[in-house]
């Protein structure tokens, strides 16, 4: 659907932009624009009572903004109700309540009147933005002084760790793997058993649901999880790429690099609880 600041015709779907969101209505005449709730200005928001389907003149609807008219594409024109049907559908709902910002708003209303289909492209776009956002979360914990007793999954990995003869390495790698479990759950809502872990021919562990990197050193264990390639370094930054942070205590420098490092979140895990780290944690 395209939108143009064209002259409105009866039955047109119209919209105005207020702040970052659009308010929609069905144009009947300059004296009658039917909409679900008044335009969301600060003044209208302060009014008592929940939004209802109402009719106002074009000036109240537009709030001084440019009114745009929907121009349906060919496929939409086939589904589009006639102007009379659209207006009748809108008028039949005058006084109706049940407004919901996300699930039953002014855009759902106009689409139902004009196409018989309740949908909100603004909601769909925001939901898409959230689902496809770049994820790169780094979980940190102090390396435990004793070997953690919790079970490791997959079993094959547990067996590998049990075979490590270097006690410190065994402790660090076990702690990192347990940290990965917390990271998978929190960042990707994935359990270790459902994440699809497997060992590649080259010996590296990978998982289907997300990419990850583990590292230990300087008294900390780190697990990075992402929906793109990711790698971790502990110690001085080796290259100009990636996001580098130096912890205040213990004084350790950490570099995370990869495909989705635009917004890297750091979490500190203690007693099974993850806490988002703000700048106070870093030097």
């Amino acid at each position: 659907m395209k939108w143009e600041p064209a002259e409105c015709q009866p039955g047109d779907v119209v919209r105005i932009k207020l702040g970052g969101v659009y308010h929609f209505g069905i144009f009947v005449s300059e004296d009658e624009v039917i909409q679900f709730g008044l335009p969301p200005t600060a003044e209208n928001r302060a009014k008592e009572g929940g939004p209802v389907v109402c009719a106002t003149d074009i000036d109240v609807f537009s709030c001084g903004q440019i009114v745009e008219t929907a121009v349906p594409d060919r496929a939409e024109r086939k589904r589009r109700r006639s102007a009379d049907e659209t207006i009748a559908a809108a008028r039949a709902r005058l006084g109706e309540g049940g407004y919901n910002l996300i699930h039953n708003n002014c855009e759902h209303f106009v689409n139902e009147c004009a196409f018989g289909e309740s949908r909100c492209t603004q909601e769909e776009e925001v939901r898409r933005r959230w689902v496809s956002r770049p994820v790169c979360d780094v979980y940190l914990a102090l390396t435990p002084e004793e070997l953690p007793s919790a079970d490791i999954f997959p079993e094959k990995r547990r067996a590998e760790l049990a075979k490590l003869s270097n006690a410190q390495r065994r402790r660090e790698e076990t702690a990192c793997w347990l940290l990965l479990e917390a990271a998978a759950k929190r960042s990707f809502n994935a359990g270790m058993q459902s994440a699809g872990f497997r060992k590649k021919l080259g010996g590296a562990w990978v998982c289907e649901k997300f990419r990850f990197a583990l590292k230990a050193g300087g008294g900390i264990c780190a697990a990075a999880v992402s929906n793109g390639k990711v790698s971790l370094e502990i110690g001085e930054k080796a290259s100009g790429k990636g996001v580098t942070r130096t912890l205040k205590s213990p004084r350790v420098t950490l570099t995370v690099s990869g495909e989705k490092t635009q917004n890297v979140n750091f979490f500190f895990v203690e007693n099974g609880v993850s806490k988002m780290m703000d700048n106070e944690w870093f030097a």
Binding site: G19, V21, L101, I102, V126, R129, W130, M276, M277
Partner: protein, 85 residues
Amino acid sequence: MSVSRNEILEKLKEILVSADENGREKLSAVTESANLYTDLGLGSVNMLYMIIATEEVFGIRFDDVGMNDFQTVGDVVSYIEGRLS
């Protein structure tokens, strides 16, 4: 699903940072008493983003919600807590 109030707040911080990366410093240290509009400067788009992301993260549905229903971060935490209980 048993989630503590503190865990909800931590997840909400993450969502707010994702909605407004420029405000990371302020948002990652936010407390329940922070006003969404006056302290955090949330606009209508970010408000929508916060609500939709919250639905996705916690698997809940915001019913009977208007733009005006939440004033503070604590209001949102309470709403989520209520839906999860």
